[in-house]
Symmetry: C2
Subunit: 356 residues, 2 copies
Amino acid sequence: METMANNVAIEKSKTSKIQDVDFDNLSFGSVYSDHMLVCDYKNGEWSAPKVVPYQPITLDPSAKIFHYGQSIFEGMKAYKDEAGKIWLFRPLENWKRLNKSAKRLAIPELPEAYFMDGLNALLQVESDWVPQNPGSSLYIRPFIFASGNGFHASPADEYKFIIACAPSGSYFSGKVKVLIEETYSRAANGGVGYAKAGGNYAGQFYPTQLAAEKGYQQVIWTDDNTHEFIEEAGAMNVFVRIGDTLLTAPTNDRILDGITRKSILDIANDEGIKTEVRKVSVHELVEAAKNGTLKEMFGAGTAAVISPIAGFGYHGEDYDLPELENSYASLLKKRITDIQYNRAEDKFGWRYEVAQ
Amino acid sequence: METMANNVAIEKSKTSKIQDVDFDNLSFGSVYSDHMLVCDYKNGEWSAPKVVPYQPITLDPSAKIFHYGQSIFEGMKAYKDEAGKIWLFRPLENWKRLNKSAKRLAIPELPEAYFMDGLNALLQVESDWVPQNPGSSLYIRPFIFASGNGFHASPADEYKFIIACAPSGSYFSGKVKVLIEETYSRAANGGVGYAKAGGNYAGQFYPTQLAAEKGYQQVIWTDDNTHEFIEEAGAMNVFVRIGDTLLTAPTNDRILDGITRKSILDIANDEGIKTEVRKVSVHELVEAAKNGTLKEMFGAGTAAVISPIAGFGYHGEDYDLPELENSYASLLKKRITDIQYNRAEDKFGWRYEVAQ
């Protein structure tokens, strides 16, 4: 039976899997909620989104997603506060970035109302799936892929926009050791590195495996031309603290315009921390590690929030970072998660309440 | 009912679509044959391939193909000669390159026997689908994608290898005008440009659309750092004739090691044509166009074989190429297709007969 919420048709699942889920021991993104949002692009337009039971997707073997990599995604989280209210963090930024990615991948852009109304309707239906346990949240995965058919190397004529949800614990556990990459690259000048395109991730797996064989959990990506400037940490933006200054690379066509990244910069400035958005060279990093001014490094992204780095490898040498009592990573993570979980004032206007 | 051929189990389709196909008016890659080959990777190994009726693929919404772009493919053709025998062209080269792509994309490599036995069995079953019309062939699309589930950005634990077939006419009709790209790029140093990875194609669509709006059918990709050297033409390798010398860029980690490309070089050398495999600058191209020594440009790849270029645009100027009576493009296309269709001696040992 269909009902409506936020202008979105809802087909409820007859059964729920929620009683099978151990909310005290959630991993990241491996258990999915009962419903998903689906919206199809056909005959030149997006149809109205629908909430339907979480279900398999059936495609022709010639669907272009299998052949030409036309796929983009976003990562978001829903947070439940102590009163049981559900919050999102800057959701319009995700919609805007999804459309930036869409444009670069020749995927039709999605109307704001379909994204926001669809998201609200889905979260109303899935409100019981938003965990209340500390550090847990409902990870939300909006994605669009080419469902149209054909072996001709050209954009598809049909697409699917889906939002699926996975109640999740934290992404990484503990600090990670990283390797500064000198051979492989993540993105080209004039390429798709700034987009959340599927292909950007597949290309990272093999270099990350090689780093793992050497004992590093993540790769610090450098520019593809000189490998002299640090750009991203695994699938996250990267921050460096030298002395008391917090540094991160400027966004460009190789670097993702991370929502956590820009929120961290705003919070740091609000805290009176000196920030510099500029190119950071590997040389500068190594010198700072040697002379003791390199105090912290961390990755920043929706999934991991802030992922502290224990040390880095470069040219066969390992450089350990100190243990700090009052790290920027801890301070900034507390400030941003306090906003996300509605535990503190939101002076930036980032929090978004999901109507229930 | 299952039968066996070449160690491959065969489940025949109960009906055939072949009577609906107009073999005199085939487009490229939009009609699919009755069967496909399927081979699954699970629990750390590839299972034996099977020929099954062409059918939809069903995947969980969390399947990694939708999120992280782990997909690779090959392009091949089966040719029918006048006697009705069916031929492949250097199929082992496709298997080798598939595995090179697999390694870079962190996809498990496929055993040679599964590829070759599977291909032979499928083509035996589909022999009626190989067109005999001049210029037509059965386009063969082997591909592997991540079918395992999970939102964690890491390689999948399950994959599908599929071979699908599409009786096809020629890919391009007529000469194309190309734009030398100065803003966008196809591949990074240390990236995945040399692999036939899905993501490499999705990234080309938008710049190609922008070029099309200016009246160019294809883009000539240049290096991402300086945009001074030509690398590929659309989804093909690119050749240039200056004076009587045939030039093409050396393969590297940004440029696909095309099977047509290297076959063209061998045939050209056999014809006594002077070839040079070296970097070709845009400056050199423009100068040669201005002084009249630029005689030909063409793309080379399996789908289009050889695709002649009528002229190129650069910095807002258009440079037309002359009409030649005895072009290298015509000569080389005739030589390679005569080998492919078993119309001429195969001194290189490239032809491969499919047992029937």
